[in-house]
């Protein structure tokens, strides 16, 4: 049994899972925003990065990790709301290219602002748990207390988002506003407010993601910390279906595991090639995504 947990295959699965939940979270943020406002938020990673900076760079380095995390989440939520009210609101109903250009531009602005304030020097974040892998019979298992914390945090975030959307009246309004804004308005749902809230929620999820990424990866926190993660999260969202939160999560985890195998058995340089190949194939075969719910659904 010990040999199983420390085997090469299991190491790839566990390592891939840890990366995969991060891609899943990024994909989830993208899906939340796409569903409510039909905008692909290319600045998602940069907004999350900025929130992480606010949580960990503005406060004293000695500040408690959890306090910094909470501040980062609040910063993310606020930034999401502000972004929707200022940048995004001008883009509704415009040709599809406008939001793409605007959000890519916003991404560059945010990264430049962060670099101007905090420089591009990498900053290492404190970690609340050890990043040293557990050992079994003298051999490492590809899972550390911190990695487990990452996975659990990701699951908690996903469950919270699911509960808010499926079981609260606020979630019902969020869904209604996304599905049919005109009818929702007639029913007294405050659609504009719901759009802002959708962005706040997605951006809060992003802040958690950025904090996890910046404290786990060798890169630490830099203005471009989220770029690579965002690219994979984006592919996960596209493969899983931009309209399907479940699809985005499943695709994120599967991609994480698949990339780990590719990196281990083929070559780590091949990962991006495989990722783009998967994206192209999935866009050709099922452009709406693997998991997009069929319109017919019987219970």
């Amino acid at each position: 049994m010990d040999a199983f947990w420390t085997s090469r295959v299991m190491s790839d699965i566990l390592g891939g899972l840890t990366n995969g939940v991060i891609y899943a979270l990024v994909a989830l943020s993208l899906v939340l925003i796409w569903r409510s406002t039909r905008i692909l938020n290319f600045a998602q990673g940069a907004m999350a990065m900025l929130a992480a900076y606010v949580g960990f760079a503005v406060l004293a380095p000695s500040t408690n990790y959890w306090v910094s995390m909470a501040v980062a989440i609040v910063a993310g939520v606020v930034l999401g709301g502000l972004t929707e009210r200022t940048v995004v609101r001008t883009l509704y109903g415009k040709p599809e290219i406008n939001p793409v250009v605007a959000m890519v531009g916003f991404l560059l602005v945010l990264e430049s602002v962060a670099a101007a304030i905090w420089s591009t020097t990498s900053r290492s974040l404190p970690t609340p748990f050890s990043i040293i892998d557990w050992q079994l019979a003298g051999r490492p298992v590809a899972m550390s207390p911190f990695a487990l914390y990452e996975v659990i945090t990701a699951i908690v975030v996903m469950v919270v988002v699911a509960v808010v959307f499926q079981f609260t009246s606020l979630g019902l309004q969020l869904r209604a506003a996304a599905l049919n804004p005109e009818v929702s308005r007639l029913l007294g749902v405050r659609v504009t407010r719901m759009l802002t809230l959708g962005w706040m929620l997605a951006s809060g999820v992003g802040a958690v993601t950025a904090v996890l990424v910046a404290s786990n990866y060798f890169t630490g926190l830099t203005p471009t910390t989220m770029d690579g993660v965002f690219a994979f999260g984006f592919i996960a969202a596209a493969v899983g279906g931009l309209d399907s939160p479940v699809g985005a999560l499943v695709a994120g985890v599967l991609l994480g595991v698949a990339f780990q195998f590719v990196g281990d058995y083929v070559n780590s340089n091949a990962i991006i090639l495989v990722a783009l190949g998967l994206l192209i194939v999935s866009l050709m075969v099922r452009p709406s995504g693997l998991f997009t719910r069929r319109t017919e659904r019987r219970v």
């Binding site: 309004q173 007639l186 029913l187 659609v191 019987r298």
Partner: protein, 258 residues
């Protein structure tokens, strides 16, 4: 004819709507009193839907005024209707896909007083209570319309007649004083029509109702008053028995039909 104008739920004062050079509505005036069922009829293209859209604020009147005297509002935007006590059902039913029947009905009750926004966000006891209330009220309405057994199903899986009732229940969730029904009879079979008519009649104790309808057999016995439109103008108003014999109406509309 307007027995007590200040108490009317809805009053159109010489409303005109121009689309470019086209006069969609010209000097349309009528009112809906509390407890009254008013039918809006007319041949295709007469402007019935435009009247609804102008009441709901989807279309702005070029001239004239849409007043809601009992609540003191006029020319409302669509987003202000629910809180002003106005509910509308849509021609195409317009249920939310991927939301259960129960959720669809619950979605109609969000303008009611109760838990505040913050209560809903952090699930305070008050928020939870008002949410349970919302669910119970939605179920009660479905029960009343005889479709409670469909509560867990999705719009794509229910018959059209049921969807119509769900859409009515959703509109009623906001406790409206004025209910606007856009072609409530279309797509319903004989038995469903009878039931629907009885339901609408029973609502009059709590609200005034304005309905657009093609089906004359459905409208005639149901309404207290008819407003007949032709080419964007009101050509007759009055009880169905009178309007039926109105020469201009017969020529413009009923004559075509019979």
């Amino acid at each position: 004819m307007l027995a007590d104008p200040p108490a009317a739920l809805l009053r159109l004062d010489a409303v005109s709507v121009d689309f470019g050079g086209l006069h969609a509505l010209r000097d349309v005036s009528f009112a809906v009193e509390p407890g009254e069922i008013v039918g809006l009829i007319g041949p295709n293209g007469a402007g019935k839907t435009t009247v609804f859209n102008v009441i709901c604020g989807f279309v702005k009147p070029t001239r004239g005024r849409v007043a809601f005297p009992s609540s003191g509002h006029h020319n409302l935007r669509p987003s202000q209707l629910a809180s002003a006590g106005v509910a509308r059902t849509l021609q195409g039913v317009g249920l939310f896909p991927h939301c259960s029947v129960l959720e669809n009905v619950m979605a109609g009750g969000h303008n009611r007083p109760g838990g505040t926004f913050a209560d809903a966000l952090v699930a305070t006891p008050r928020g939870v209570r008002s949410e349970r209330q919302l669910r119970d009220d939605a179920l009660a309405l479905l029960e009343r319309l005889g479709v409670a057994d469909q509560a867990a199903r999705f719009p794509s899986a229910i018959p059209y007649g049921v969807a119509k009732k769900v859409s009515l229940a959703r509109a009623l969730m906001g406790d409206p004083q004025l209910l606007l029904l856009d072609e409530p009879a279309s797509g319903l079979d004989e038995a469903e029509l009878e039931q629907f008519a009885a339901e609408i009649t029973s609502l009059r104790a709590q609200m005034g109702i304005l309905l657009v309808e093609h089906d004359m057999e459905f409208v005639m016995p149901l309404v207290d008053r008819l407003v007949v439109l032709n080419f964007g103008e009101v050509i007759a108003t009055g009880p169905p028995a009178e309007v039926r014999h109105h020469a201009e109406v017969v020529a413009a509309y009923l004559g075509v039909d019979q």
